[in-house]
Amino acid sequence: MYNTIILSLALLLLAAGSKPGNAQTVIISEEPGTRELDTGYGMNRKHYSHSWLSVDFIAGRPDSRGGDIRYWRSRSLSYGYRYKRKYSEVFSGGLEFLISRRAFYPEQDPYKMVPDTVINDKEKLVFLQAGTGAYQRLNFGRRGDHIGSFLDLGIYGGWNFHVRHITDNSLEGGERVRVRRTRLDYPVKFEYGLLARLGSGNVVLRGTYRLSDLFKADSGLPELPRLTLGLEIGMHPF
């Protein structure tokens, strides 16, 4: 009780002693005099970088029927980060880094050879890749600080750091058996190819053509389709 009275008195004294009339809140504070425009970095400035997402569908024909795949289901999903250096109003170029997950679904028919001749209920060959690319960009039309419409031509390379082969079959008793094989000895570790993109703003149509083989020469496996066609979304404002 005694302590409470002392505390109350102390608060009253504090309140009485404080100077009235100083409570204020700054709602807007602007310093236009110190505002500086970053004219070096922007979508149509000297430097720009942004991330992107893409889905690419495997297209084209394999080297032989043994390499047939199920189209549409066979595709890759990628996430990348791109740097763009502007040379002139029309030309720019740059580098990009990406990670992707690509899955091939082999056609389950008597010609099947990849990665073996066994017919499965379900089967896929999954490549996880870390890659990089270099491209040259041609922009069309005049524009402000905007990505605009463009055509990219370039090259890419990637390290297949993890490849797995997954099969899924049902046994006679109805039991399902899923087999996941890793540390495979037939895929090549590194691959490279050509890329092309046609874009406007955030939306980009893209294609890649793999120049390198997917499987080691001594594996005897036919090559899977080399072409991909896909859609990319640029993660930038407009």
Partner: protein
């Protein structure tokens, strides 16, 4: 396989290297040669002829009156039509012509670059330049019932337009041109029945489709017109219900690639039809421009807006919705033009700058926006009502205000109306780059000006500090309730604002500013409740 790959790679790199070598001739330099793409170009002609030009048949009677009122020669070379034989010559070459501009003595064509620049060889062509521009209007919102009565009440009262109404002022006799994306529902919505019934919509034109019907495509223009002259069962949506209108569709769709020639063509169209005011709730930004180009001179549309102003038209334009875009922030074009009344948006209920409203100054340091108005309003939509937000809807409120003011003072020039709108605003003569001079007040034109001049604070210099002492103590939450904030700024000797602040005073009666950091000849300017005062650093 490997050898083939290396050959392909080598070829690709060789192509890229050649391309780079051929084009890295400095940033900003570019060439269309060989691109094979058809682009827009302006072809400027060498001369005009006044042969057979009769202004009395060419212009509407109102346009003649405006010219006479502003002392503009009826045979001004700028107004003479483009020589038809020049246009015919371009047609003969098979070029597609979208717009012919008498103000700029030019034609907008679509052509391959080589061919367009080749026209410079023709003796009647002064120059050829690539056309620039795209636009960014605001967004539309879902339609609502007319239930937001509180917002509507504020909308009807905060500019004091009741003074106009009580004195029978409704913009009558003033002709307002609205450039927008479409006016869907204007011909059917009850909010505009008075305009349709009385024949107040004098003319319409869709500059994209080259047709009369503008009542499709978008309700953006519908809401803008509503903010000027709409009526509802709950009262007026805009005060200028007696004005006449020219409606022009100059945008293709909501976030479109539109060309500046539509805006220019619409301005000349409106001029010829006697428009007194142009309301343009459009802003042109990043698609074609960089923020440093917002100097009122770079874009053709800014020059066109100034040209319209020189012909006696009051051009009112939205400041832009880029205020919360860190890469842009500043005013958009043509709101950057010198003679354009640029309007920023206020947030409701704080009545301070809405976060999206673009700020000034222009990149060449001119103060913009000029004034501010409510950014969120109740407006007529396609069938019912909507509460859209954006500087697009602040601009028409000021255009309507100006129309009423002009009806009161029909002998005034456009720039006299421009200045009077600024002078009547809540903060005047205080100015900042967020709010301009504040919100125009009709009461200014009906009350004793002395009532606005009563001091509300004193500035007291004490050693290295400046004390702002209010004459009336502020109660808790008072400033927020009444939107009576204290505004102050540090102004440089060249008139530019170094920094500015808005302070909510909670139970305060004085503020102390440290002046030790200020340099000589800088000024501290303070505004509180209609009173502005300043002190220079010695």
């Amino acid at each position: 396989m490997q050898k083939k790959s290396y050959n392909l790679l080598f070829s690709l790199f060789l192509c890229i290297a050649l391309l780079c070598t051929a084009t890295t001739d400095g940033e900003g330099q570019y060439s269309f040669k060989g691109s094979g793409q058809e682009n827009g170009f302006w072809v400027f002609f060498t001369d005009k002829s006044d042969e057979g030009f009769d202004p009395y048949s060419f212009f509407d009677k109102k346009a003649i009156e405006r010219r006479e009122r502003h002392g503009i020669c009826l045979y001004d070379p700028v107004d003479l039509p483009v020589r038809q034989e020049y246009v015919d010559s371009l047609h003969t070459l098979g070029l597609r012509i979208s717009v012919v501009s008498r103000w700029f003595n030019a034609a907008h064509i679509y052509s391959l670059p080589d061919m367009a620049f080749g026209l410079e060889e023709m003796e009647f062509v002064r120059s050829v330049s690539p056309a620039t521009l795209r636009l960014v209007p605001a967004m539309a919102l879902p339609e609502v019932d007319l239930s937001d009565k509180e917002l509507l009440k504020v909308q009807q009262e905060y500019m004091g337009t009741g003074f106009f109404r009580k004195n029978g002022i409704n913009g009558s006799g003033i002709r307002i041109a609205i450039f927008d994306a479409g006016f869907r529902g204007v011909d059917t919505h009850a909010a505009f029945s008075h305009l349709n019934k009385n024949g107040q919509i004098l003319d319409t034109w869709d500059f994209h489709r080259n047709r009369v019907n503008v009542y499709s495509s978008s309700t953006h223009g519908t809401m803008v017109l509503s903010a000027i002259a709409g009526k509802s069962t709950q009262g007026l949506l805009g005060p200028a219900t007696g004005a006449d209108f020219l409606l022009a569709r100059t945008e293709i769709f909501r976030e479109p690639l539109a060309e500046e020639q539509y805006w220019l063509a619409a301005a000349e169209w409106a001029d010829r039809r006697g428009a007194d005011i142009i309301n343009s709730s459009l802003g042109y930004v990043f698609h074609r421009y960089f923020p440093e180009e917002m100097d009122g001179q770079t874009s053709l549309i800014s020059r066109a807006a100034n040209m319209a102003a020189r012909r006696g038209i009051l051009v009112v334009n939205a400041a832009g919705n880029m205020g919360d875009n860190d890469k842009w922030r500043i005013i958009v074009t043509p709101a950057d033009a010198d003679s354009v009344l640029s309007v920023g948006a206020l947030d409701y209920p704080s009545m301070l700058r809405a976060a999206y409203s673009s700020v000034g100054p222009t990149t060449d340091g001119r103060p913009k926006p000029n004034v501010s108005a409510l950014g969120t309003i109740v407006a007529a939509g396609r069938r019912r009502y909507a509460t859209p937000s954006g500087t697009s809807f602040a601009s028409p409120q000021v255009a309507a205000f100006a129309a009423c003011l002009w009806q009161m003072h029909p002998s005034w020039s456009n720039m006299q109306v421009f200045n009077a709108v600024e002078r009547s605003s809540t903060l005047f003569p205080y100015y900042d780059y967020s709010h301009g001079y504040g919100t125009p007040q009709a009461s200014y034109f009906f009350s004793d000006p002395a009532a606005f001049a009563a001091p509300t604070f004193d500035l007291v210099r004490h050693n290295d500090s400046l004390r702002i002492v209010l004459r009336e103590r502020v109660g808790p939450g008072n400033s927020e309730k009444k939107n009576e904030y204290l505004y102050y700024q540090i102004r440089n000797s060249d008139g530019s604002i170094e920094s500015y602040f808005v302070v909510d005073l909670e139970e305060a009666n004085k503020i102390r500013l440290n002046m030790a950091d200020l340099v000589r000849e800088q000024q501290v300017i303070v505004h509180y409740r209609g009173h502005t005062a300043g002190m220079e650093v010695e």
